[in-house]
């Protein structure tokens, strides 16, 4: 038997193919106000390693998280999954990052993975935490059917006790109600027609952000509420303008068996509308409107009584786009252009709260003097009046410098 294994292993190794790609990204952040170092961890190195054999592929994504101030380092296996490519679609099993939705970044319909709040300002999958799950996607003509199963709930990675972190986070994780959660699942159907690409989705799971679910003797009790998300997204083209739209309807439920709860069921809607236009000299303009609308709240008597005794908000959305936590209506504008024979990328972006006086402004440059090397410099400035989220983030306004080597 041992001989057989020894014989088979080299053959499969020869038949298969190992592929890899990765990067080293040392960098640091400095406060704009006093040029002091902002001590937060960052991903110093990342590697994607895969092995493919026939219709199967093993994919991994790992990172080394590092913090300059105390040389703290941590290995993160962000993804490790087996992928099978049958003729009809794809099957993935393991720790993985999913991506649903049509707009870039602030997707109300994309709730399959928790967020890593340390990387909230990074784009795409960089800000997500891989979750152990299984997914099946079936392709049929212009249709795609996708199902995702997540056996165990996972919440957002929060930066507890991080004084440098710009959001109000507790110094330690509050005690969460100890209870077993059901597994989670989601389905998504996408079709392509004359209008463009449109998708309908449904997700049944627990909130990614914990919230207080009851107040007992003046003390809040925290947990993750059960939430159903019904989503729709669309990509269409109007002349030379690309339109990406996404909307999600959330039904969140306090299904805990407690005597006093702030509410029994609440609904809310989040949407994001994005338009893009690229000029003939490759300058891309984009605008994204992000909105959140509170819906009905169902109460019981004791809830009503409790609510009058506290100033805590009735609930905080535990899913959807994190930007909805800042404002009910925000507008993000961006300009992106490339220069010097694509060696220099320039990005300008701003986020404006359309309800409260607060906004964020950012400028970033990526310069590649030689192949596979990049120097990046970015500046982010937060401005807001007293009482706004961005006011508390003013000290977090920073300049970020970094070097990248890709292999």
């Amino acid at each position: 038997m041992k001989k057989l294994i020894c014989f088979i292993f080299p053959i499969t190794a020869l038949l298969g193919q190992i592929n890899y790609t990765g990067s080293l990204k040392p960098g640091n952040m400095y406060s704009l106000s006093d040029q002091s170092e902002i001590s937060l961890p960052f991903r110093l190195a990342e590697a994607d390693v895969g092995y493919s054999l026939g219709d199967f592929e093993i994919k991994t994504n790992s990172a080394l998280e590092y913090r300059w101030s105390n040389n703290e380092n941590k290995f993160q296996l962000r993804e490790a999954f087996l992928m099978w490519y049958p003729s009809w679609g794809e099957v993935k099993v393991g720790k993985q990052i999913h991506a649903w939705g049509a707009v870039d970044g602030n997707n109300p319909t994309d709730n399959l993975n928790p967020y890593d709040y340390y990387y909230m300002f990074l784009p795409g999958a960089e800000r997500k935490v891989g979750t152990v799950s299984g997914s099946v996607k079936y392709y049929w003509n212009d249709w795609q059917f996708e199902g995702v199963f997540i056996p165990e709930h996972e919440g957002n990675r929060m930066p507890f006790g991080e004084t440098a972190f710009p959001f109000d986070v507790p110094s330690a994780e509050p005690p969460l109600l100890d209870m077993e959660f059901d597994s989670e699942y989601g389905i998504r159907i996408q079709t392509t027609n004359e209008l463009g690409d449109m998708s309908f989705s449904y997700f049944n799971g627990r909130d990614r952000a914990f919230d207080y679910v009851a107040i007992v003797a003046g003390m809040p009790l925290f947990s993750y509420r059960k939430t159903d998300v019904i989503g729709f997204d669309l990509v269409s083209f109007i002349g030379d303008v690309t339109n990406r739209f996404e909307v999600a309807y959330f039904i969140t439920e306090n299904d805990f068996d407690l005597d006093v709860m702030p509410f029994t069921e609440a609904t809310y809607v989040q949407y994001a509308e994005q338009v893009e236009y690229t000029t003939s000299n490759d300058i891309m303009f984009s605008a994204q409107l992000i909105g959140s609308i509170e819906g009905d709240i169902e109460w019981d008597y004791s809830t009503n009584q409790r609510q009058t005794q506290t100033t805590v908000p009735i609930y905080n959305p535990g899913m959807g786009t994190p930007f909805a936590a800042f404002t009910d209506l925000g507008l993000s504008l961006g300009i992106q252009s490339t220069h010097l024979d694509n060696a220099l990328d320039l990005k300008l972006n701003t986020f404006m709260d359309l309800k409260d006086p607060q906004f964020m402004f950012g400028v970033s440059t990526d310069y590649s003097p030689i192949d596979n090397w990049k120097i990046n410099v970015s500046v982010s400035k937060f401005i807001g009046e007293d009482g706004t989220q961005f006011h508390s983030m003013e000290d977090f306004s920073h300049v970020k410098v970094g070097l990248e080597y890709h292999f």
Partner: protein, 249 residues
């Protein structure tokens, strides 16, 4: 006498060929059912600085269906591009962005946009529909010892072209383009293109394209290696799911 008559008839036929006739001949020339290759693009700016891109490509239906996986630059390895041209409706273009874990539908209407920062626009990479252009035959010329038809190609309004016209030199013996000049909407020379072909399984298969944007003084050289034609590529390859998987060869 008989020979003279035949020669005169042939000359008459050749000279009676209009620009459209020649364009039809080019269009009807047999082309591979499918093609696989490894493509290398070298972009050179006005200071002589170069940047390279390489990708694996598969195409069929005369390039109407095309899928490419980027290998270089390293920070873009895994990015993949799928294009499907439709008759009578908008083309479909999609990109797989590994960093976003997302297949992104992109606009196919801005034909003049540069493909991955090169001097080739999406329009340059697309097939030229016969009925979307007018063809005027100009005086024949010899280019690098090759006897060529010279056509003036004027895109019609419905072609939504970013060019006003093209002048194309087509080798008479192979009916393959040897070079082309493309003029912007103002009628000013924008691009000079050169083509080289190789014979394979009875087809003339492209081996090298050189494009120079004379207004930007920037050029792109595209070379094709490991070329395979009629290798029986499955039509199902041109599906979104295959963007995520770089082929082994």
């Amino acid at each position: 006498m008989k020979h003279s008559l035949i020669t005169l008839c042939l000359i008459g036929i050749v000279y009676s060929q209009t620009g459209l006739d020649i364009a039809k001949m080019v269009d009807e020339k047999p082309s591979p059912l499918d093609m696989a290759n490894q493509t290398k693009m070298v972009l050179t700016n006005k200071k002589g600085k170069t940047r390279s891109l390489s990708m694996i490509s598969r195409s069929m239906d005369g390039n109407k269906k095309q899928i490419s996986w980027f290998l270089e630059p390293k920070d873009e390895k895994g990015v993949a591009f799928l294009k499907i041209e439709h008759d009578g409706k908008d083309d479909e273009m999609r990109m797989w962005l590994p960093a976003f874990k997302k297949v992104r539908r992109i606009s196919s209407k801005k034909k003049g946009d540069a493909f991955m920062g090169s001097d080739l626009s999406y329009e340059d990479l697309s097939n030229r529909e016969l009925d979307e252009n007018e063809y005027n035959r100009l005086d024949d010329e010899i280019v690098d010892g090759k006897d060529c038809y010279v056509l003036e190609i004027l895109p019609k309004k419905n072609a939504k072209s970013s060019y006003k016209k093209h002048i194309s030199w087509i080798e008479k013996s192979t009916l393959m383009g040897v070079k082309e000049e493309s003029f912007d909407k103002r009628g000013v020379l924008k691009k000079e293109k050169e083509y080289e072909f190789q014979e394979m399984k009875g087809y003339h298969v492209i081996k090298r394209v050189y494009v120079k944007d004379v207004q930007k003084n920037h050029s792109t050289e595209v070379t094709f290696s490991d070329v395979k034609v009629d290798s029986g590529i499955d039509e199902k390859l041109f599906q979104e799911k295959n963007l995520k998987r770089i082929p082994r060869d």
